[in-house]
Amino acid sequence: MSSSHSHEVRPAILDEVNPVDIPRPACVDNNRSFNWITEKICGIIEEKTPTWWWVCFIIACATASFTFIGLAYLTVTGVGVWGLANPVNWGWAIVNFVFWIGIGHAGTLISAILCLLRQKWRTSINRAAEAMTIFAVVCAGLFPVFHVGRVWFALYPGYLFPFPNANAIWPNFRSALLWDVFAVSTYGTVSVLFWYIGLIPDFATVRDRAKTKFRKIAYGIVAMGWRGSNRHWSNYEMLYLILAGLSTPLVLSVHTIVSFDFAISLVPGWHTTIFPPYFVAGAIFSGFGMVITLMLPLRAIYGLQDLITQYHIDCMTKIILATGTMVGYAYGMEFFIAAYGANEFEIFAFVNRAFGNYAWAYWIMISCNVISPQFFWFKSIRENTTLVWVISLFVNVGMWFERFVITVTSLSRDFLPSSWGYYSPTVVDIFTYLGTFGLFSVLFLLFLRFVPLMAMAEIKAVTPQADPHHH
């Protein structure tokens, strides 16, 4: 590089500071070849379906049926089967919605923001994380659609989306709930597109290796006739960069808009300007928690230690540590602003969160979200995959409780003591929510069987031997 720019005047400061290249850890351990990467990842979907997969799949299907039974019961009977009632009209439905949307964020973050920041370690985990995003958005979408009760109206023109309807009434665009419809549907759509675009070259690899006619045709159709031409790669890489550039503001805006659902109201505890960045940090936090929860078992089962290295785990745990600390800062700042703002309702809302009748939920949230990630300061803990996995579970639990605390504590005790109440979920609430984990698992297991788990082309491109100047 320096030789081609030798005619340029070299700034004198460079001689003084003498920048040193900091060696980066390799993204693929043990100097694996391109062919090894192909065999390893294609091997996962080409091998005979393992027994553990069938066991998990059957359990996941059974669990997913809870959601469908719960939703069918709700549709037939009415939303009264959920625990929603005055004063808490937003309960588990929105808690679960925000939780699942948040889970999705790490996928887009890994694929988009880390792509723009040229973080090469993203390549080993982006595919699975993006799949996780899409499946999480599917789970999230169920709750707002079904909480309207007469769910067919949600799809009916003019209710959520602005189609002309019989009464010539349009949705009100001043409502943050309607912004949410656009934000989440755009997020879901762009995530699917981004995922699929990344998959095209890998589908081509699977197609080229296919032994059976059926696989050849099926993967041939989804590979779109990709042939690895460099004239194609040139446009493809530009497209990928643009999609990363588009998804970056998207991922930040989606959870910002989700937070507007709360923040533009006047309910004490919701009406805070810190919500957008706080929600985004929390979403990334919980998303990375879920990525680790999913990837560590897969790494062990499929022997992917050379592709998901200690370096990858370090990077992810450090992001969890950073975002967990940001979330902790936001919790503290909410108290500070409540005190400093001298609004008695706001002060009461926060004191009530920590010491009121939902204090148990609040302290679960603090322990899981603020305290548990702090263990990642220690290298020995980051290197212990069991502990990393356990902490990632705590992160998921903590973030669910965060949404619960925000939603329920503020509504259950707002301005008038005469309208205070205590919210409890019903059995239908609980089973519908548990079922979404089954639904998520069903989709993820199918992904494992039919789609290359890792972005082969991208991993090959970040190995040292992929550099034409490598010797």
Binding site: F173, T186, L193, D208, G225, H232, Y236, M238, S253, I257
Partner: protein, 176 residues
């Protein structure tokens, strides 16, 4: 040989194929291509490719999306069925912004993807390169270069000698 698509050469490393591509570019061939399992950094320059046109589709899509969002909200809330809430203005770019912003991204993404497919002429389920018996290597760990027989400079014997001069591992003909 009318049913011949071109001549295909196989290389082992990204560096080999890049140097070969530079020579083919300098020899002035027009209809030729490089097939690699992953994008090689610097290959666009080695092939003499211009910057991709995909961003032009993006800007058209994005602008359309933003205008669509703003005009949709104006039409629905301030023109066709006026909704007056709490004395707020019937239309303001501020409350219309989040939705317009999302539509900007949505339309840009679709336009860029459609652009990529148009520029690459995909989906194309038949291509001579896909018919080659080395197709599994193309998307695995080997690097290929071909010159089409449609190229104005193509001459079966001369081109073959030229390609062999690039020191490939293997040279073969491609069927149409």
């Amino acid at each position: 040989m009318a049913d011949k698509f071109g001549i295909l050469a196989k290389f082992d490393t990204p560096a080999d194929i890049m140097h070969a591509a530079e020579k083919v570019r300098d020899a002035g061939f027009k209809r030729w291509d490089v097939i690699t399992p992953f994008p090689i950094h610097g290959m666009d320059g080695a092939m003499g490719l211009k910057r991709s046109w995909v961003p032009r589709f993006t800007i058209v899509g994005g602008t359309t999306g933003f205008i669509t969002g703003m005009s949709m909200i104006f039409y629905t809330n301030a023109f066709d069925y006026k909704i007056l809430i709490g004395g707020k203005p019937l239309f303001s770019p501020f409350f219309a912004f989040p939705v317009s912003y999302e539509l900007t991204i949505l339309f840009s993404a679709f336009a860029s993807i459609i652009g990529m497919f148009i520029l690459n002429k995909l989906p194309m389920h038949y291509h001579s390169a896909l018919k080659a018996d080395k197709v599994a290597e193309m998307s695995d760990d080997k690097f290929f270069l071909y010159i089409e027989s449609e190229d104005p400079q193509f001459d079966d014997a001369k081109t073959r000698t030229f390609i062999e001069g690039l020191h490939p591992v293997e040279v073969s003909d491609m069927e149409k």
